[in-house]
């Protein structure tokens, strides 16, 4: 029976490999654009983001200013482009710190014995009890506002989720047949950890990270919007949203475009994360 199912799956899977979803293509294109905006913003943006021109203040989107200008006459599109690096950096750094902290907790729980496992699990549950953003706010209340604390705060609030997933992975791999086979061969624990347990348990990490970056950017922007992250005049999407808020009724472009970038970035990174998941699943099925 299993041969039958495998065969039908294989027959059906072949054409699907060739099909690349349009959403994935768009997400890749957008990610490349973001990368350019990060690395060479001067090449992408038409103007200096902080160059003020009071006479041009509050001009709506036009061929000269694609996204319009703000209250000081600064080009919104240029600010969005120059803000990319700041926003992405916060997102990536927050995800990285969340994953690192999560991994540390997971390793402690999985290999530290019963006491550590119990302690870490209860800690994770307590952290889970707070909504993530609330937890981040709590950290900022204690550590004070600023881009670095905002990053760490977002990282900390995502850590429990990562810790729980990674702990499960580590435990499953540790109990697997191949780890036991390695033990029977007389290999040292460090060698088993390095060659089998970590590589296999951490394999889904890349996917998790891609899915997490979108969320981290949204949260970091939310903190900036509340004035707790990047501070003016730094171009950062959340901070731009916050600065444009008083003019929501008269100059919609001040808030819509940075907001759109946040949404598109989150969507693109989620779509890429899902695509990676599919690729991994397909590799697992056809290898």
């Amino acid at each position: 029976m299993s041969e039958l199912e495998l065969r039908t799956v294989a027959v059906g899977a072949r054409p699907r490999v060739a099909t690349v979803r349009i959403g994935t293509v768009l997400a890749v294109a957008f990610a490349l654009y973001l990368l350019l905006a990060c690395l060479v913003p001067d090449a992408v943006a038409p103007q200096d983001p902080n160059q003020i021109a009071p006479r041009d203040a509050f001009s709506p989107p036009s061929p000269a200013h694609w996204f319009g200008t703000d209250e000081s006459g600064r080009d919104v599109y240029s600010r969005v482009v120059f803000g990319t690096a700041n926003s992405l950096l916060i997102g990536v750094a927050a995800t990285a710190s969340g994953l690192t902290l999560g991994l540390a907790l997971a390793v402690l729980a999985a290999f530290g014995g019963r006491v550590f496992d119990f302690t870490v699990n209860r800690t994770i549950e307590v952290l889970f009890a707070f909504p993530g953003l609330l937890l981040a706010l709590l950290v900022i209340v204690i550590a004070g506002p600023g881009p670095v604390t905002a990053t760490l705060a977002v990282g900390l609030s995502t850590a429990p989720g990562y810790a729980r997933i990674l702990r499960g992975q580590l435990l499953a791999v540790r109990r697997s047949g191949y780890v036991e086979a390695a033990r029977v061969l007389g290999h040292r624990p460090r060698r088993i950890l390095g060659r089998h347990i970590l590589p296999n348990a951490l394999a889904p990490l890349l996917v998790l990270a891609t899915l997490g970056i979108g969320q981290a950017i949204v949260w970091a922007s939310a903190l900036s919007f509340l004035g707790l992250g990047a501070l003016p005049p730094t171009a950062e999407w959340g901070a731009m949203l916050s600065a444009g808020r008083p003019y929501l009724a008269t100059a919609w472009w001040l808030t819509v475009f940075p907001g759109l970038m946040i949404v598109l970035t989150a969507v693109a990174s989620t779509v890429l994360g899902r695509a990676l998941t599919r690729v991994r699943a397909r590799e697992g099925a056809t290898q």
Binding site: S2, E3, L4, T8, A181, R183, G186, H187
Partner: protein, 520 residues
């Protein structure tokens, strides 16, 4: 003509691949026809095509496809549904995945009745109860309220058979109905199936196990590569096979003379014990209580001998193997490796000696790191020998080193698993059901390979299996385990000829044998 099932020229294709070609099949009331073949032969696909279940991507063609008087060549899904259950019942191999784990089996069986017939809740209940009685379910009232996971494998299979019989279908298709079961349970299920055919139901039996087939079938079809290559009465096909492939299948059934009686091997080798177990016990916490998995077991494995360990699932064989491998510490008793303490050693002390005991598992695939190629797996385990050399020892081509275990056949995987065990240069090999998941011909090859390697290298081998035929073929001595205890042990030939313990005698009696000229 009173054929219930009349099929001619059945073929099934998946895309460009033809998996079943030109199969003719007829089934009369009270008759049992068996389709025999190895995995990939197309036997299961044939059975599923008869129920319209070959799959959405399958292209099924037939010159004639008549089930219970209805031509089903152009049947719609709706027409198929009317056939399934009412005209044809289906029994699958694994009852655990075939029954909904969250619903009591009484409800599950009652569903079939409610779907196809009218009747109040009380009437359905009574029908379900009668069905469970018919399949000899002990305490049917209690069983109705249990979920499938709460029943043992044999009782689950009975529940599944009851579900298949719920609407009294004139035809029952059983796809490997006893493959997942222990011998004694298997014997009861086979009796039950024989009873059902005696009552007039036509049975189409799909199996790779010739012994099971010989016990039940009137006629046999041998399938290979999607074609029926030989057919006839069971006595003809199994007694005087015409095709080379059928002969090989029959020869591969491990039911031959015990090994100790083979020429050139002394029946009573006086060998020093290389691995000795004395009074070993191990219990586990389960459901608030404790389960005694291994209970005061004493065994000795002599240098260069093969000790067969037989027992049904749950008898403690695998726990004992894990204790011997130093993966589990016994609660009481001693394990000695070459006269030195083994079990009480701390992990650090064991590690240096671990390579002396190699292990081969039933599910070799899960014992390989999923990211690694065959070559990397062997290099990782090797204590000097090169990968091509290691592959050569187990009869595999050096090109396989670059392949991934997932892309290998079951037999090739088990060879890689043996090569890995040998790469660590062990003196002792512990094989836990190493051939249970393999087809008979592949099984015979692996057993042959293990026998040869043992002779060449003077390995001591503990061979664990639930299959008496396999144990008999390979073992010098045999130990029989039941409920955590060794109830009997001795020379293989003597033990099989004159079992001393009632349980051993029962196991031997229940083991299906390839017998031609059956009387029913």
């Amino acid at each position: 003509m009173n054929e219930l099932l009349d099929v001619a020229g059945l073929s099934v294709r998946f895309g460009a691949e033809t998996v079943v070609q030109g199969v003719d099949l007829a089934l009369r009331p009270g008759e049992c026809v068996a389709i025999v073949g190895e995995s990939g032969s197309g036997k299961s696909v044939t059975a599923r095509a008869l129920l319209g279940l070959a799959g959405a991507r399958a292209e099924v063609r037939a010159d004639r496809l008549v089930v219970a008087g209805r031509d089903l060549r152009r049947a719609t899904e709706r027409q198929w549904r009317a056939i399934r259950g009412t005209e044809v019942g289906l029994i699958l191999q694994d009852a655990l995945v075939s029954l909904d784990p969250l619903r009591p089996i009484g409800r599950e069986i009652g569903d079939a009745i409610r779907l196809h017939e009218r009747g109040g809740a009380g009437a359905v209940q009574a029908r379900v109860r009668a069905l469970l009685e018919r399949v000899a379910m002990p305490d049917p009232d209690a069983a109705m309220r249990r979920r499938s996971g709460e029943l043992s494998g044999g009782l689950r299979q009975r529940a599944l058979i009851a579900a298949a019989l719920a609407l009294n279908p004139p035809i029952v298709i059983a796809d490997e109905p006893t493959t997942a079961l222990d011998v004694s349970v298997q014997a009861r299920i086979l009796e039950l199936l024989a009873e059902i055919t005696a009552q007039g139901t036509a049975l189409l039996l799909i199996s790779h196990d010739l012994a099971v087939v010989s016990a039940l079938a009137d006629r046999v079809l041998v399938m290979r590569g999607g074609r029926v290559i030989e057919q006839g009465s069971t006595a003809e096909v199994l007694g005087a096979p015409q095709e080379e492939y059928t002969k090989r299948l029959i020869a591969a059934v491990p039911d031959h003379a015990p090994r100790a009686a083979q020429p050139g091997r002394p029946a009573h080798p006086a060998r020093p014990a290389v691995l000795a177990v004395e009074g070993v016990s191990r219990s586990f916490a389960r459901d608030g209580g404790r389960v005694q998995a291994v209970d005061g077991v004493s065994l000795e494995l002599g240098r260069g001998e093969t000790l067969g360990l037989v027992g049904e699932s749950g008898s403690g064989k695998s726990t004992l193997a894990r204790i011997l491998l130093g993966l589990e510490t016994p609660d009481a008793g001693t394990v000695r490796l070459d006269g030195e303490d083994w079990a009480p050693l701390p992990e650090r002390g064991r590690r240096a000696r671990r390579h002396r005991i190699g292990a081969i598992y039933q599910d070799s695939l899960s014992s390989f790191d999923p990211r690694w190629s065959v070559g990397r797996i062997l290099r990782d385990a090797s204590r000097g020998a090169g990968v091509p050399e290691l592959l050569g020892q187990v009869g595999l081509a050096p090109e396989l080193a670059a392949r991934h275990p997932l892309t290998l056949s079951g037999g090739q995987r088990q060879r890689v698993s043996i090569a890995r065990a040998l790469a660590a240069e062990p003196e002792i090999l512990i094989c836990d059901e190493p051939v249970s998941a393999l087809d008979v011909t592949v099984q015979a090859q692996i057993l042959e390979l293990l026998g040869r390697l043992q002779r060449e290298r003077g390995l001591s081998m503990l061979f664990i299996s639930h299959d008496l035929g396999v144990i008999r073929q390979l073992s010098d001595r045999v130990a029989v385990m039941q409920a955590g205890r060794v109830v009997e042990q001795g020379e293989a030939a003597a033990l099989f000829a004159r079992p001393g313990h009632a349980y051993t005698a029962q196991l031997l009696a229940d083991a299906p044998r390839l017998s031609v000229g059956r009387v029913r």
